[in-house]
């Protein structure tokens, strides 16, 4: 089975399980992104068909939400908080340090495909600013040193 066949199969599976929920589009998009890491362009026709929507409508929804992505992410996505509480505790410095260390800007992926970097506007971890999230792991009071340690740990896990 080719990779694209297996992606299509996953997509069809998610659509079949969720399409009868009221307002099924977001749950379906989450389901696909959870399974594949992003929402492949060639899944749009299947979603549109499953929900009786136009492709343009489906695409419009995908592009409206910051969280949904249309390109494959790195193995792990780092979300750094840009919001006020984190700024008050040196968040801007952390952002710049992360970009320098990873050699990428926001919305980019390292050349080895290991990390993607995304901004986030508050993680609800403001009492432990500055904060970041990698996958569902959350980190608080992140310093440049602890950033390095976390990244090294994540590299070893990979």
């Amino acid at each position: 089975m080719t990779e694209s066949n297996s992606i299509q199969e996953t997509v069809q599976g998610v659509i079949a399980t969720l399409k009868d929920k009221p307002g099924a589009l977001l749950p379906i998009l989450h389901g696909i992104q959870d399974a594949i890491g992003y929402i492949p362009a060639d899944s749009v026709p299947a979603i549109a068909q499953g929900l009786h929507l136009s492709r343009a409508e489906v695409h419009g929804v995908i592009s409206f939400y910051h969280y949904f992505r249309e390109t494959p992410p790195g193995k792990q996505t780092i979300h750094i908080c840009r919001a006020e509480s984190c700024q008050a505790m040196g968040g801007k410095h952390l952002e710049q340090y992360a970009k320098d260390q990873l050699g990428i800007d926001y919305h980019e992926t390292t050349t080895d495909g290991q990390f993607s970097l995304e901004p986030v506007y508050c993680l609800g971890n403001c009492a432990c600013s500055p904060a970041m999230q990698i996958g569902s792991d959350i980190y608080g009071r992140v310093s440049t040193q602890s950033f390095d340690a976390i990244i090294n740990e994540k590299k070893e896990q990979a």
């Binding site: 977001l26 919001a83 006020e84 505790m89 508050c122 609800g124 403001c126 009492a127 009071r141």
Partner: protein, 517 residues
């Protein structure tokens, strides 16, 4: 008998290493052949003391914190399992002034129980409010909420009872209860703490709302940034179904209420209630024109209650102890308590629940202990990214909706973010414009285009270019946003921007000689 040890599973505690502490304590106990029962509780909210470990001893619950993995073996050596002395020993959390001086109503259980244990919930006053509600008429339930004086804690402070009454009196086969758990406001985390630390109280509040207005379906619209809350809510919902607290026949009364969690997808504007409903319907989160009110035509065109997590989580205690009990806390038209979230550059960041009326200064210094850096506090942003910055001269404002409104400031969802004197208010104002541009739903031109224009103007100001021309331009832009926006994202971005400019003109390069008209 095994000893009960509590280590929070709250995600902020985890962000500081609570999972590793829990594992280290378990391992150390095993290797010493000591039997312990490790419970993952919610957080007490005193985050400078997290990770906070509590041990149940004959003398009550004794706390240690902030604990690092490297402290664990020394804690065992000090016999912390029997309340032994150690430099991290704090005694009883409930005896600390930080905790004792709070009025914890909505947060009464949080940090004391295992959040996803229904038994713990029931043993600690859980489901007493629902029990009472099931014996009352719908109108009486709504009346209790109205009498309590509860106003929405999501930002707009609209009286909850009035909203419920509209839904109750709008006839329809299908009605909905939506919990707004989008908690997009930076500097806020009280919703998260409730969902992670006491999810049953939210489920109970929503069930009471459903019974009160005649809605049999509820949705919790949860921001995707909160994976721990998602897990806790789903675990608690499953248990509530299994025990007959959700489903088609709640506690044998024949009344039905179903509940499902839906995830958002990183759009701040989807916290606005009509945008949220569009999103739940599977669409882009474009803000709807009002009227119609959601209470009359909301989700899928049906009468819908949309309430914030804290609003709904405050309902069980109101139904348990009565509207008057809740109403007796607070001042003026701000009744009950507000869980304040103290964050940013502050020595003691955390969750403090108080009756309305405490002053900002008391919160910042008596509880917050001043800035984390030890430098003077320059400004405090209250009420999230659309809230104004308050300078020191406004710190005596009591935390009360009307007192804040009188200052052209807002309490919003109760977030308080502190900045020391190194903060650059012009850079912050630029960020506020940028945030508006990034998160705008795009429906109104002032918000969509004006915010981008605002960034450009702020860039010029920051670069010291044509200050006397650019400051009036910035004010004009803000006026256009204030007057020409459909929702508060565009309509209130001027609050932080103009408050920064008005209180800290020097950061904008405005000198006495500049025409700052």
């Amino acid at each position: 008998m095994s000893i009960n040890v509590y280590v929070p599973a709250d995600s902020s505690a985890i962000s500081l290493g609570a999972d590793r502490i829990a594992a280290a304590i378990t391992l150390e106990a095993q290797s010493r052949g000591i039997e312990i029962n490790l419970i993952r509780n919610g957080s007490r909210g005193l985050y400078w003391l997290e990770p906070l470990v509590e041990v149940v001893t004959d003398a009550g619950r004794i706390a240690y914190g902030p604990v690092q993995v490297s402290d664990v073996s020394a804690l065992f050596e000090a016999d912390f399992l029997h309340g032994g002395d150690h430099q991290l020993a704090l005694g009883s959390i409930e005896e600390l002034d930080f905790f004792k001086k709070q009025q914890r109503l909505t947060f009464a259980r949080i940090g004391t129980t295992d959040p996803i244990s229904l038994d713990d919930y029931l043993a600690n006053d859980g489901y007493r409010g629902l029990g009472n509600a099931l014996k009352q008429s719908q109108a009486d339930i709504v009346k209790a909420v109205t009498d309590s004086g509860l106003r929405g804690r999501g930002g707009a402070a609209f009286p909850t009872g009035i909203k419920w009454n509209t839904v109750l009196n709008t006839p329809s086969e299908q009605k909905y209860i939506i919990c707004n758990a989008d908690e997009g406001d930076s500097g806020t985390f009280s919703d998260r703490m409730v969902m992670e630390g006491d999810p049953f109280v939210l489920i109970e509040g929503m069930t009471i709302a459903g019974i009160a207005v005649g809605a049999n379906q509820g949705y919790i619209y949860l921001r995707v940034e909160y994976p721990h809350a998602h897990i806790a809510l789903n675990a608690a919902i499953e248990k509530a179904y299994a025990a007959g607290y959700l489903g088609d026949d709640i506690q044998g009364t024949g009344k039905a209420f179903h509940l499902e969690v839906r995830l958002g997808a990183g759009a701040y504007v989807c916290g606005e209630e009509t945008s949220l409903m569009e999103s739940l319907e599977g669409k882009r989160g474009l803000v709807r024109f009002k009227p119609p009110l959601p209470a009359i035509s909301g989700l899928f065109g049906q009468p819908t209650v949309v309430n914030n997590v804290i609003s709904l989580a405050s309902v069980p205690i109101i139904l348990d102890k009565g509207g008057d009990y809740y109403r007796d806390f607070g001042m003026g038209r701000s009744r009950g308590t507000l869980p304040l979230q103290l964050a940013g550059n502050i020595k003691h960041p955390g969750l403090f629940e108080f009756a309305f009326g405490l002053t900002l200064r008391e919160l910042l210094y008596d509880f917050g202990g001043g800035s984390a850096t030890g430098r003077p506090i320059k400004a405090v942003q209250v009420g999230g990214p659309l809230g104004a910055y308050l300078p020191e001269s406004q710190f005596d404002t009591p935390l009360d909706y009307e007192a804040f409104a009188a200052n052209w400031t807002v309490l919003g969802h109760g977030g308080v973010v502190v900045f020391d004197d190194t903060a650059d208010m012009a850079a912050l104002a630029r960020y506020n414009m940028e945030f508006c541009a990034i998160e705008s739903c795009g429906k109104c031109t002032p918000c969509r285009i004006g915010s981008t224009r605002g960034i450009e103007v702020m860039d010029e100001i920051i670069n010291g270019l044509e200050i006397s021309k650019n400051i009036p331009l910035l004010r004009d832009l803000c006026n256009t946003l204030l007057n020409g926006s459909l929702c508060a994202l565009g309509g209130m971005t001027p609050y932080p921007v103009l408050s920064a400019l008005n209180h800290f003109p020097e950061d904008f390069g405005v000198t006495d000689t500049t025409d700052a008209a």
